[in-house]
Amino acid sequence: MTEKLRRYEDWARACMHVRCGLCRENCPAYGQMKLDSYSAKGKVTMLYHWLEGSLEPSEKMAERVFACTSCGLCDIACGYPQSEAIQEMKIALFDAGIFPSAQYSRISEHTRRAGNPYGETPETGQQLLKAIPEASAENAEYLLFFGCTEIYRGAPQRESVLKILRSAGIPFKTPSENICCGSPVYRVGDLEQATIQAKSVQSMVKNIGIDQVIASCSGCYRTLSHDYSTLLRTDPGFRTIHTVQLIDRLIKEGTIRMRRMNAKVTYHDPCHLGRHSGIYEEPREILRSIPGVSFVEMEWNRKFSRCCGAGGGLRSARGEDAIEIASRRVKEAEETGASLLVTACPFCLRNLEDGAKSIGSSIKVCAIESLVANLIE
C-alpha cells in the first residue's frame, strides 16, 4: 500500500528533522480543526510513521488527511510541495478503502454513477448544454469547457461567461455533453476515476477538433492544464486558458469596455488559479481597469493567499467547517474596507457567499466574470 508513498520518504524525513511548523498557522484545516495533526506537519508526521511501520492507517488518520483542502500554502512555507505527498496519501487511503466518512466516498460514487460529483441526473446537464446555441457552432477557435459547478450550481456565472465571449466576438463552441474534468474525484484520492475522466475529456476535445480550451472554473483549469499530463502520462493534446487571461487580453486590446463603477474592491486568489498555476496579475489587471474601482489587497494575497476552505472535498464532506473557514477569509476582506469581494472560481464563490451569509457580512461576493459581464458597455 505504501509503495508509491516511498517517493516522498525524503520529504517526510526532512520534516521530521526540522519540525519547523512554518506550515501550521496558515493551514485552513489546522485553523478549523485545531489539532496539529491537521496541519501539513501533522500529516507528514503520519506519512513518516506509516512508512516506518509505526502507524497503521485508520479512519481517524484519514479524517486528518482528507481534511486537507489541497490549497498548497504549506508548500510555500516548506520548500517541498508537501501537498503533493498528502494527495498521494489520500490516493493510498482511498485504494485501501479507508475513508473518514461516507461523505467523501460519495463524491467518488456520484461521479462513477452519474458522471458528476453532485450526483445530478446527467440528462439535466446534457439538456442544458445542448440548449446553448454555441453547442452547434462551427469553425470555432475555442472550446468553452463548463465544469460541473457551473452546470449544476452556477447559472449566473455560466451566463456571464457566455455574454462576455459573445460580446467580444470570440469564435467559440460549447460541448454538448457534460464530462466532469475529474478534479473532485482526484482530490478525494480516486485516481482510477480521475484518469477515466481525463481520458473522456481528452477524447471529447479531440473529437470536437479544437485545441484551445477556455475554462472559468479554477479547479477545472488546474486539472486540465496541469494534472492531465500526469493522469494521462502524456500531453493531453490541447492548451487551456482561464477566462481571466482571455478577458484581460480583450480589455487590453480594447475589445471590451466597461462602464464606471464606484466601489472599493478586493480579490480572493483561488488556490488552483493562483498558487497552483501562477495566475495572479490578470484578475487584478481586470479589476484595476474598471473605471471608478479602487482596488485593495487583503493582507494574505497572491502566493500567500489563504484558502476559502472549499477544496479537497471539504465543502462536500464537512460543509460547516468549510463555510467557517470561508467566513474567516470574508472577515479578512471586510478589514480592507471593500464592499465587493471578487473571485475567479465558482467553487470559491459559493463557499465565500455562504461564509459571508453565515456571519451576516454586508460584503458582496461576486465572480469576476459576472462583474465584467454586468459592466460591459
Partner: protein
C-alpha cells in the same frame, strides 16, 4: 477505570472533548523536536490537551497531581534541544489555543499576550498599533511567546534589543501546585524585591507554565539596511565587531556564519558564495536614513581596517531574506530543503570570547578524529544583547541518523565538545536551550548551586509534575 481513562474523562470535562486526544496519529506529532534526542527514544505522550484559559491550565495541573501523571508543556514544538519531549509520556499540554493578544499599549510601549500566541502574531498586532515587537527568531511564524520566554532565544534584531527575556516585563505563571502567580507589570522597572521573573524565564517549563506575558515594544524604525563582510578567520571577525562597538555603532543584526552555514541558508536562492569566504558577518542597522547611512559607512570602515572584504549585494540580500522569516517572507525558509539528507544537531556551549577561535579549531580536529571527513559542520556566531560584540558560538553537526552507529558517535562527540567548553571556562548552553541535549552536564557545571536549584524545584513543583525527567531534574 484505569488511570489514563480517568484522566481522559477529567480533561474532557475541563476543556471539552474537541480539545483532548488519545489518537496515536495526533500524539505522534508531539514526539520529536529538532534534536537527535527525539529519534533516540520514544517520547510519544499518552494524551494531548489544549487548554483555553489559565483556569483550565490550573485545573489540568491539579488533575495531574491527583493522578501523578507528568505534564509536558508545548508551544510551537520548535525547540532544538529536546526540551518539550515527554520523557515519561503522560500529558502534552499544548498552549497554542491560548493565543489572544490582550492589549497593545503604544503609549507605555507594552504588549500583553497569552503565552500560546506566536511571535509573528504578536509582532503583527504591535505593528498595527505603530510599535515594534523585536523578538523575531526564524521560527517566529510557528513558535510561541511561552516557548521563547522559556528558552532564552535570540532574534535577528537581538544585537540592538537583546534576548527575548530582555523583552519581558511581567508574566502570569501556573506553578506545579496549580497555584497562579503574577509577577511584574507594565512599568519598565517593576522589581519590588528579587527579580522573580528570572526564575521562570529560561526554565523550559520545569518550574511553571507561563500563561500570559507583558512584553516591551519599541517605536518602529523607519529604515533598515544591510551589509555583509567576509573575514579570513574568526579572530579577525571578532576584532572587527569590537572595533565597531568602539566606533559607536549599534547595529540590530550581527550574524556570523561560516561557509557551510551560509551554503545552507542559500539553498532556495542558490546565491553563489565567493570561494575565499571563511567567516562572514551580516550587519543590519535601522533608524532614520542618515543614521543608517552613517552606521553602515562606519561598519564598512571598521571591517576593512580588520581585513574584512565586502560581499556582493546579492549575497547580502539572500542572507537577510533567509533569516528574516515572517508572515510575508515565509517562502524564503531553507530549513526543510537543507535538512533532507541528514539530521542536524547543535553543539550549544558557550566559551569566553577570546576562545571562540580555539573552540572552533578544536571542533575541526575532533571532527577529523571522529572520521567525519567529507561532512562540513556549520558554525554560527551571534551577537546579543550588548551591541555588535558577539557572545555565542555554536556548531551545527549533520548526522545521517539512518546509520545507527552515527547517532552513537554524535553523543560521544557532543560529550567531548561540552567537556572542552567547560575546560575553556565556558558554559553548557547559550542560545538553544538545555533540554535533553545538554542536561547531563548541568550538575557538573552548577556544583552546589544544583542542590539549591532542586530545592527551588521542589518548592514550586513538589510532585515533579512539570516536564518530569527534563533538564537533569530527577535523573
Amino acid at each position: 477505570m484505569n488511570k489514563l481513562d480517568k484522566l481522559h474523562d477529567q480533561l474532557e470535562r475541563i476543556v471539552g472533548p474537541e480539545y483532548v486526544t488519545f489518537e496515536l496519529c495526533d500524539r505522534l506529532v508531539y514526539s520529536k523536536d529538532y534534536s537527535i534526542e527525539g529519534f533516540a527514544g520514544n517520547y510519544t505522550p499518552d494524551i494531548v490537551v489544549k487548554p483555553g484559559s489559565t483556569d483550565e491550565v490550573a485545573a489540568i495541573v491539579r488533575i495531574a497531581i491527583e493522578l501523578d501523571i507528568p505534564i509536558y508543556t508545548w508551544g510551537g514544538g520548535t525547540s532544538m534541544s529536546g526540551n518539550p519531549l515527554a520523557v515519561q509520556h503522560g500529558i502534552v499540554l499544548d498552549m497554542k489555543r491560548m493565543n489572544r493578544i490582550i492589549e497593545v499599549d503604544p503609549e507605555n510601549l507594552t504588549i500583553t499576550a497569552e503565552a500560546g500566541s506566536t511571535m509573528a502574531a504578536v509582532q503583527a498586532a504591535a505593528q498595527k498599533h505603530g510599535v515594534f515587537f523585536t523578538h523575531q527568531p526564524e521560527s517566529c511564524l510557528s513558535s510561541t511567546i511561552g516557548g521563547a520566554l522559556s528558552c532564552m532565544g535570540i532574534s535577528i534584531f537581538s544585537a540592538k534589543y537583546g534576548y527575548v527575556y530582555d523583552q519581558a516585563l511581567g508574566i502570569e505563571v501556573v506553578l506545579g501546585t496549580g497555584e497562579k502567580l503574577e509577577i511584574g507589570g507594565k512599568s519598565y522597572l517593576s522589581v519590588p524585591s528579587h527579580n522573580l521573573l528570572n526564575l521562570f524565564l529560561g526554565a523550559e517549563g520545569t518550574l511553571g507554565i507561563i500563561t500570559k506575558a507583558i512584553l516591551k515594544v519599541y517605536p518602529i524604525p523607519q529604515h533598515r539596511d544591510h551589509l555583509s563582510f567576509g573575514f579570513p578567520n574568526i579572530t579577525m571577525a571578532m576584532a572587527a565587531c569590537k572595533r565597531i562597538h568602539a566606533a559607536g555603532c549599534w547595529p540590530e543584526t550581527v550574524y556570523a556564519f561560516d561557509k557551510r552555514s551560509l551554503a545552507q541558508y542559500m539553498e532556495r536562492a542558490k546565491t553563489p558564495i565567493p570561494e575565499d569566504v571563511k567567516m562572514a558577518i551580516l550587519f543590519g542597522c535601522s533608524g532614520d536614513q542618515d543614521m543608517v547611512n552613517a552606521s553602515m559607512k562606519s561598519i564598512a570602515a571598521c571591517c576593512t581596517e580588520l581585513h574584512g572584504h565586502i560581499l556582493p549585494d546579492e549575497l547580502t540580500h539572500s542572507w537577510w531574506n533567509s533569516v528574516n522569516i515572517n508572515r510575508d517572507t515565509f517562502d524564503q525558509s531553507n530549513f526543510a530543503l537543507s535538512h533532507t539528507e541528514y539530521e542536524p544537531d547543535l553543539i550549544d556551549a558557550c566559551v569566553p570570547l577570546s576562545k571562540f577561535q580555539e573552540y572552533s579549531d578544536f571542533c575541526d580536529e575532533l571532527k577529523a578524529e571522529f572520521g567525519w571527513i567529507d561532512i562540513d559542520f556549520g558554525a554560527f556566531i551571534v551577537a546579543s544583547p550588548r551591541g555588535p560584540i558577539p557572545f555565542a558560538i555554536y556548531f551545527s553537526v549533520p548526522i545521517d541518523t539512518r546509520l545507527s552507529a552515527e547517532a552513537e558517535k554524535w553523543f560521544a562527540f557532543k560529550e567531548r565538545m561540552y567537556r572542552k567548553a567547560l575546560a575553556l571556562g565556558g558554559s553548557i548552553s547559550d542560545v538553544n536551550g538545555v533540554g535533553l541535549r545538554s542536561a547531563p552536564w548541568i550538575r557538573e557545571q552548577l556544583g552546589t548551586a544544583w542542590t539549591f536549584l532542586t530545592r527551588i524545584k521542589s518548592l514550586v513543583d513538589p510532585k515533579n509534575i512539570l516536564n518530569r525527567g527534563q533538564r537533569g531534574f530527577d535523573q
